[in-house]
């Protein structure tokens, strides 16, 4: 398998420099663009495996880049934005972004996000291969509908199970409340965000050692949830 290709659309040269150093050091091939327009062209010509887009670009909104890219490709898009802009993040995710990172972020976080994105691209092409999801002491057997924590079988209600499997499906990626509600309760329940929170609390009490300090079922305040993937 050739080295994965990453396109970075970011107007700050220092951040581009940091991304280049980190990603190239891990064997990724990196292509950079400092404007949205250049970035769209770059994506079209390089056929990347992952795209990283800053939301604040000089020539166009990062959201606009995502919308244009989504017209012709399903390439994973990771959005860069600052903390305190939760609404922007949700909008970006709704517009088709796959994940986001809050500035400032560390190299570890960056690589983890990119890895998750690549894994999901790979997963999409080999659908049905992974029927067992394992992270830490948590094991979810999708084929046999079995959930175990540290080897102990855990009994889940149907909704709890559906919630968990939805998160497993997007493991490592953020899933917005809306998304969860739509997938678990159906499109008519997208306004009842507290459903998801209440069931998530149930799930934590069943799966986590310390529900108030979760290890697997992480909260992204103002955005949604993320199931730890590594």
């Amino acid at each position: 398998m050739p080295d994965p290709v990453v396109v970075v659309i970011e107007d700050e040269p220092q951040i581009r420099k940091f991304l280049r150093a980190t990603l190239e050091g891990q064997g990724y091939r990196l292509f950079e663009a400092s404007t949205g327009a250049d970035g769209v062209v770059e994506i079209g010509s390089r056929q990347p495996d992952v795209v990283i887009v800053d939301l604040g670009l000089p020539d166009m909104d990062g959201l606009e880049v995502i919308r244009r890219v989504r017209e012709w490709t399903a390439v994973p898009v990771i959005v860069l934005s600052a903390r305190g802009q939760e609404r922007d993040k949700v909008t970006a995710l709704d517009a088709g972004a796959d994940d986001y990172m809050s500035k400032p972020f560390g190299a570890g976080e960056l690589l983890a996000r990119v890895r998750v994105a690549l894994r999901h691209t790979a997963g999409a092409s080999h659908e049905g291969d992974d029927t067992v999801f394992v992270v830490g002491g948590l094991r979810v057997d999708l084929l046999h509908r079995q959930v175990q924590v540290d080897g102990k079988e855990i009994h889940l209600t149907p909704i709890e199970y559906r919630l968990l499997t939805t998160l497993v499906h997007y493991a490592g990626k953020v899933v917005t409340h809306q998304h969860l509600l739509r997938e678990v309760w159906g499109p008519s329940h997208t306004e009842q965000a507290h459903y998801a929170r209440v069931y998530m609390a149930h799930l934590r009490h069943k799966l986590e050692v310390e529900p108030a300090r979760p290890r697997y079922l992480l909260t992204e305040p103002g955005v949604g949830y993320r199931l730890a993937a590594e």
Partner: protein, 906 residues
């Protein structure tokens, strides 16, 4: 012998002008410096050449380079005068349409806009056409002077207010256009244009004196040598008096001479008669000569309350005239005129009383005595001046014969009849038992009852009716008005007199009670308003109270206009009871700028629908009070005006108080902001630079000598770079959050959250810092959902936990505890650190508070937490724990409708 220092001081005090007076003079001098200078060219009669002299004077000024403009000049087509106008800038006159005639008038606004150094305005005594701002041209001139423009003007001596009646007496011509003496006296220069009467007559015969056509005949009578000599004398004397006054002022200013005028005070007694105006003018002249303050007093006896409205209006006009001439005016309530006057005079140390010669007929004077006699008897050391009070044949029309006002209400008369009928019934029933004398008593009782309840008219009727009925029914021969026994006639007469006296007494008492009640009511109203104003804060509330009270007391619609925050222009207050349209606003603006009343009932802009008073506070005008009475003439009496002034003064003081409080608060806020800005700058620059220094230091070390360092040192350096970057990030985050909180840009996005989840995400965000800590979290599983913005509450938790980490020994445990009631959820974060310094439990929430000197962080975290919790409607506080350490607690109210319960699944 004792010669105490007190006596010495007193002796000095009498020799020197007192400092208050000096200060007043200095202030007056300053005001005079800013004011324009007024020069009056005074003549004895028309045609002496005033306009000519004035124009010549202006030409000289113009030649000296003074910016002089002719504002309004009547040349009456005289060629030599026209010639002098040539080369002068002439302001175009304002044309006013008055009943189909186009009148040319002086254009005040154009003059103010042009703002020359010197302006000519001919004929100071001119009456302006209706519709102009002022009723009189001298008011225009005063406004020009106030604006700092020098004015040259002309007038004839007959137009002086106080000489008005003398001139009328000499010439037989009444001059209606008058100029108040105060304007004349305040003139900086008066130049007398003198022309011997013979020469003037010559000019008159040659047709060189302009006379309007319609006045031809009257003027011919006027221009007689005798008249002209008398007028010339008046003009010369008046000018001489002015010179004399100037000299006295000079002496005063330079403290020449020891004998200051003794403290004279003049009291002029005004009667309802038409001659009072004369009395007032005479009083003014006397007061001037004495250099004494003077008071014009009108005694309101119960009898005068019944005078017809025209007569009472005349009293009002006379009082107003006195006020214009510089008098203080008072209305004294009283039973007897002389008593009230003397009481007031003694009270105010009046030294001279001026009264009119009584016009009562001889026999009434003998019977009742005259006021003058009573005054003289009771005056003690007060001088009494009696001035002939002959009727003026002109001027104010004579008082109409007193008409008994037709009672608009017949009900009291009906009651009077009913009472008589009742008395008759009672008398009839008791006839077999009582003598006739007792029946008389029954009727008298009836009369007294009617008198006390219904006043004079009905009781008069009751008296006459009673006598008639008594005669008809009870006095033999009954059922006729004839009387058999002459003694009964005596009974009737006595009964009638008793009835009349009783009714008049009762009526008088009623009247006095009514007058007292009105005064009492006003005093009470004023007291009520001041009390309410004193206990109120906030301009809006104060205005509402003032408007309500004034409107109630004066039965009017009231509005208060305040200057806008930025400029001078007035804005209508939100609590006005009528809207002020742009015309009215113009009037109000004029009032605000000139600090004088205008509008309805005044001589300035009388066309307005409301009266406007400047609200004068000690530091200057604070606004304008507009009052629109239900009855247009309700505010005409000086008494009412004084009362209104008292109310408006109270209002002005209240507004000023509110303004001052506001200013003080703003100053406080400014100081506070300044202090904050300073501490923010020092704090932020310190907190930004410290991590930057570390980062820069570590990075440069790695660059310069990275290869020489061993691996652990390199790692240590890099670790510190990462830590400091995190710290910087938190600081920036807090600064941003603070800015959002303070700019009001913070918007809560409340949703129903399980608290555990928020606590959980806060703990994971602080993962690294909390790595070596035991955190005991007690969030009960049955804790209700709370309506919060999870991002912000997470920030609060992070700040509180971060604080706990920062200020407590490493590895000491931290406790998080959540409890709930029906109303709120309380979250407690407790540590085992040193606790807060005693008394700092509240201060910690202030911005830039730091627990320890040199402590890390900008001191923003707790302030932000407080802001966020308050935005949620909760509160946050800190308390030292008995077992050591400190607990921070905050509540989150469970406000709003909880969400629909989550459907359970099997």
């Amino acid at each position: 012998m004792r010669a105490g220092p007190g006596r010495y001081t007193r002796a000095v005090g009498t020799d020197r002008p007192d400092p208050e007076a000096l200060l007043a003079r200095v202030k007056a001098e300053e005001a005079r410096q800013r004011r324009g200078k007024l020069k009056i060219f005074l003549g004895a009669a028309a045609g002496v050449g005033k306009t000519y002299a004035m124009l010549e004077a202006v030409r000289e000024q113009k030649a000296d380079g003074v910016d002089a403009v002719a504002g309004y000049v009547e040349t009456h087509g005289r060629a030599e005068t026209d010639a002098l106008l040539a080369g002068l800038e002439i302001l175009p006159p304002k044309t006013v349409d008055y009943r189909g005639t186009a009148l040319r008038e002086f254009d005040l606004d154009a003059a103010l806009a042009r703002h020359p150094t010197l302006i000519l305005v001919d004929e100071l005594a001119h009456t302006n056409a209706p519709g102009l701002r002022h009723a009189k041209r001298w008011q225009d001139v005063v406004e020009l002077l106030d604006a700092g423009i020098n004015v040259y003007t002309t007038m004839n001596v007959q137009h002086l207010e106080t000489l008005n009646d003398i001139v009328a007496k000499i010439t037989g011509v009444v001059v209606r256009e008058t100029v108040p003496d105060s304007v004349f006296e305040q003139a900086d220069e008066v130049e007398l244009i003198d022309l011997p009467p013979d020469e003037l007559l010559e000019r008159f015969k040659d047709g060189k004196v302009y006379i309007p056509d319609q006045a031809q005949e009257a003027v011919k009578n006027f221009f007689r040598k005798g008249n002209l000599i008398a007028l010339r004398e008046l003009a010369l004397r008046r000018t001489a008096e002015r010179v004399d006054a100037q000299m006295r002022l000079y002496m005063h200013e330079h403290a020449i001479g020891k004998a200051w005028p003794t403290a004279e005070r003049l009291l002029v007694c005004i009667s309802p008669g038409p001659e009072s105006a004369r009395l007032v003018r005479a009083g003014k002249r006397m007061a001037d000569r004495l250099g004494a303050p003077w008071v014009a007093a009108y005694v309101e006896t119960p009898a005068q309350l019944r005078l017809p409205p025209e007569v009472r209006d005349r009293v009002t006009q006379t009082l107003r005239l006195a006020e214009q001439l510089g008098a203080e005016t008072v209305r004294l309530p009283g039973q007897k005129m002389s008593e009230a006057i003397l009481a007031f005079a003694h009270d105010r140390n009046v030294t001279k009383i001026v009264v009119g010669k009584p016009r009562r007929r001889l026999w009434t004077r003998i019977l009742i005595g005259s006021i003058v006699d009573a005054l003289v008897q009771g005056s003690g050391d007060i001088d009494i001046y009696v001035i002939s009070a002959e009727r003026e044949q002109h001027g104010v029309p004579p008082a109409p014969v007193r008409r008994r006002a037709i009672p608009s209400d017949w009900v009291p008369y009906g009651w009077a009849m009913a009472v008589v009928a009742l008395a008759t019934g009672a008398a009839w029933l008791t006839l077999p038992f009582f003598e006739l004398a007792n029946q008389v008593m029954v009727y008298l009782l009836g009369i007294v009852v009617v008198a006390t309840r219904y006043g004079r008219g009905p009781s008069l009727m009751a008296s006459i009716l009673s006598v008639a009925v008594l005669d008809f029914l009870f006095v033999p021969p009954v059922f006729t008005f004839a009387v058999s026994d002459v003694r009964y006639l005596f009974t009737f007469v006595v009964m009638l007199i008793v009835g009349l006296v009783t009714s008049s007494l009762a009526a008088r008492i009623r009247m006095q009670a009514e007058a007292a009640r009105q005064r009492e009511q006003r005093t009470a109203a004023l007291y009520a308003m001041s009390r309410e104003l004193a206990s109120t804060r906030g301009l809006e509330e104060l205005l509402k109270i003032a408007v309500r009270h004034i409107s109630e007391v004066f039965r009017s619609q009231v509005v208060v206009l305040l200057p806008g925050t930025g400029g001078e222009s007035l804005v209508s207050s939100s609590c006005g009871q009528f809207t002020v349209d742009s015309n009215e606003l113009g009037v109000a603006k004029w009032v605000h700028e000139h600090h004088q009343p205008a509008g309805l009932g005044t001589s300035t802009l009388p066309g307005a629908t409301a009266l406007y008073l400047s609200l004068q506070a000690p530091r200057g005008p604070v606004g304008v009070l507009g009052i629109r009475p239900a009855d247009r003439h309700a505010l005409d009496s000086p008494d009412q005006l004084h009362q209104l002034e008292t109310f408006s003064n109270q209002t002005a003081l209240a507004i000023e108080r509110a303004n001052l409080a506001d200013e003080a608060q703003q100053a406080q806020v400014r100081i506070e902001t300044e202090r904050l800005r300073n501490s923010l700058l020092s704090s932020v620059s310190h907190d930004l630079r410290t991590p930057l220094a570390t980062i820069k230091g570590a990075a440069t070390t790695m660059l310069d000598s990275g290869s020489k360092l061993d691996a652990p040192t390199q790692k240590e350096l890099l670790e510190s770079v990462r830590e400091e970057a995190d710290r910087l990030n938190r600081l920036v985050q807090n600064l941003l959050e603070m800015t959002r909180l303070e700019s009001g840009a913070l918007q809560l996005r409340r949703e129903w959250h399980p608290l555990e989840e928020v606590v959980g995400s806060a703990l994971s965000r602080l993962g690294k810092e909390l790595a070596d800590r035991r955190v005991d979290t007690h969030v009960p599983p049955d804790l209700p959902l709370v309506p919060i913005d999870d991002v912000l509450i997470e920030q609060v938790l992070v700040n509180l936990l971060d604080n706990a980490v920062k200020y407590t020994p490493a590895s000491s445990p931290i406790r998080i505890l959540a409890t709930s009631t029906d109303e709120a959820v309380t979250v407690e974060i407790a540590d085992h650190g040193p606790g807060l310094p005693r008394g700092d439990e509240d201060k910690v929430f202030e911005k830039f508070y730091r627990g320890l000197p040199g402590g890390r962080g900008a001191g923003l975290g707790l302030a932000i937490s407080q802001g966020i919790v308050k935005a949620h409607g909760g509160h946050i506080w800190a308390q030292n724990l008995p077992e050591g350490g400190v607990a921070f607690l905050f509540t989150l109210p469970l406000a709003g409708k909880p969400p629909a319960s989550v459907p359970a699944d099997a």
